[in-house]
Amino acid sequence: MTDRPAPRSIKILANLPLNALLYAVLIIPFLLMIYLAFLKWNPAGGYEWWRAPLIGLANFHKALHDSRFLSSLGRTIAYVAIVVTIEFLLGLLLAYLLLEKFPGKKLAIAIIIYPLMLPPVVVATIFYLMFQDYGPVNNIFLRSIIGEKALGIHWFLRPDTAFISLIIADIWQWTPFIFLIMYSALSAVPKRLIEAAQVLGASNFYIFWRIRLPLIKPLIVIAIVLRALEAFKVFDYVYIMTGGGPGTSTETVSVYIYRVAIEYHDISYASAMSLIVLLLIIIVTRIFIWYSFERGGR
């Protein structure tokens, strides 16, 4: 950072392309979304959106009384809470276990982060195949525990097992994400701080709790926030593995809004729900970050 004013050429290069891109592709549609949310417009109705009537807050009112929307919201939140908790604990544990040098460590890390590189559609396909009636989960793993009964488990036909299969896919793919952040954070804790604690007589466990964890706290918050935001978006797994079913029992917010917009063509209603979700995300993230950083008087 310098305190010289930016030269004009740099100002233009830094601002113009970025703003052009953002305005053209994102900001105009964003403003459009706000407008659409107050309309009663369905493209199937045969007229363009600029001719649609304004109906005020009706779409928002409808959303707050739409039990399918509310339960998809609740389900998504539960999903986020479950996967983020498990992924965080597992990722942190792994990061800690892999911190010290040992033969084969590089290979172990390379394997552990493999799922992270796969497209979610591919992961969804993988677990779609894993949980088939004659897939390896039933046919090999469960059959060796509970016998032939295992082949009768239809994972995607029962709400609870369908939901569990989604969670397993998510944990499989995203635990490495938390692991990576925690691992690089823990490795970035200056070695001399650890050594200083060692010569002062602290045990490894004590050092972990009193030195390492507090020092990486900002990154823990960031990892959790990023992961929670990503998990909240969950679409690909549901779309491919369960299709939201059985019934609407595994439908998440993303899937529901997608359906309303694309399959039911109710663009206005989808826009209103989108705005509600957006508002919710901003508020929750803001509170979480405030609680983690600013309350402590940083």
Binding site: M1, T2, L13, V25, F30, M117, L219
Partner: protein, 286 residues
């Protein structure tokens, strides 16, 4: 004391080992499944008895399937989506990295793009694509950009430019301001400084940012699902349609998953080192 240490160490290796198995087993299953003939799709063992490439070959031919309850589906060959994905991901990446480089430089040295630009791009990352895709669909429909490469490229680069700025700003921050100031005194104008000093020094950063963004573009499903139809269909869309349409055709589905993995996994391992060290954002204080 000695015994305690042995127990702790072996426990550590057991946990790591179990996790490695947990990662590897599904991958191994898919790989072997992709090479199994029709008769072996439902068996309880890994290594195929009669390995075959049929599952791959079938993906490159147009096929008509009769699915459950007699519904038919026509599945296009995977060639076109594969090429679309390459083109769209690559061009969108280049655009995002170029725009991101200039903005990252401004942000690092002069705080230029301002809080609004940064906030807005962050917002687009927070928002579930499902909520955002609706107005874009309407907007693109009016502009005639639906099912075009250009439409996807523009959208992909605008939602990934944040990452480009974020990653490149980190790299530029690591270049001492003095290195630029020296060049300035030696007669370089501000733009010359940018191209002759900063650009060569930040080349590794451009590669990392580029590959990372390419990875994101390559794996994106929802935008492509909504905004494309026939012409600009990408690989993830193709996979989702294929898996949905052909029911229990396990072998080809596994083969398709493998094809979809090759490029991103290769890229992932190229930038692995940066993934491991790059995720701290300089936030651990010492």
């Amino acid at each position: 004391m000695k015994w305690g240490r042995i127990v702790v160490t072996s426990l550590k290796y057991i946990i790591i080992g179990v996790f490695i198995l947990w990662v590897l087993v599904p991958v191994a299953w898919i790989i072997t499944l992709a090479f199994k003939p029709y008769q072996e799709w439902r068996v309880a063992y890994f290594i195929p008895k009669q390995p075959t490439l049929d599952n791959f070959i079938v993906l490159f031919k147009p096929e008509v399937f009769t699915g459950v309850m007699g519904a038919t589906a026509i599945v296009e060959p995977v060639t076109k989506p594969l090429i679309n994905s390459l083109v769209v991901s690559a061009l969108a990446t280049v655009l995002a990295v170029i725009v991101g480089f200039f903005s990252a430089y401004g942000a690092s040295r002069y705080n230029t793009p301002g809080p609004f630009g940064i906030f807005f791009t962050l917002l687009t990352r927070m928002l579930p694509p499902a909520t955002f895709v609706t107005p874009i669909m309407v907007y693109y429909a009016n502009l005639g950009l639906l099912d075009t490469h250009l439409g996807l490229i523009a959208l992909y680069s605008s939602v990934t430019v944040t990452y480009a700025i974020w990653i490149l700003k980190g790299f530029i921050d690591a270049i001492p301001v003095e290195w630029e100031e020296a060049a300035m005194l030696e007669g370089a104008s501000p733009t010359k400084v940018l191209f002759k000093v900063v650009l060569p020094l930040v080349r590794p950063g451009l590669v990392v940012a580029g590959l990372f963004i390419f990875l994101l573009n390559w794996t994106e499903l929802l935008f492509a699902l909504v905004l494309t139809n026939i012409n600009a269909v990408t690989l993830p869309v193709h996979i989702s349609k294929y898996v949905g349409a052909v029911g229990q055709l396990y072998g080809p589905q596994a083969a398709l998953a493998l094809i979809g993995s090759i490029v991103p996994v290769t890229i992932g391992y190229i930038i692995q080192k940066h993934l491991v060290t790059g995720f701290t954002f300089g936030m651990v204080r010492g």
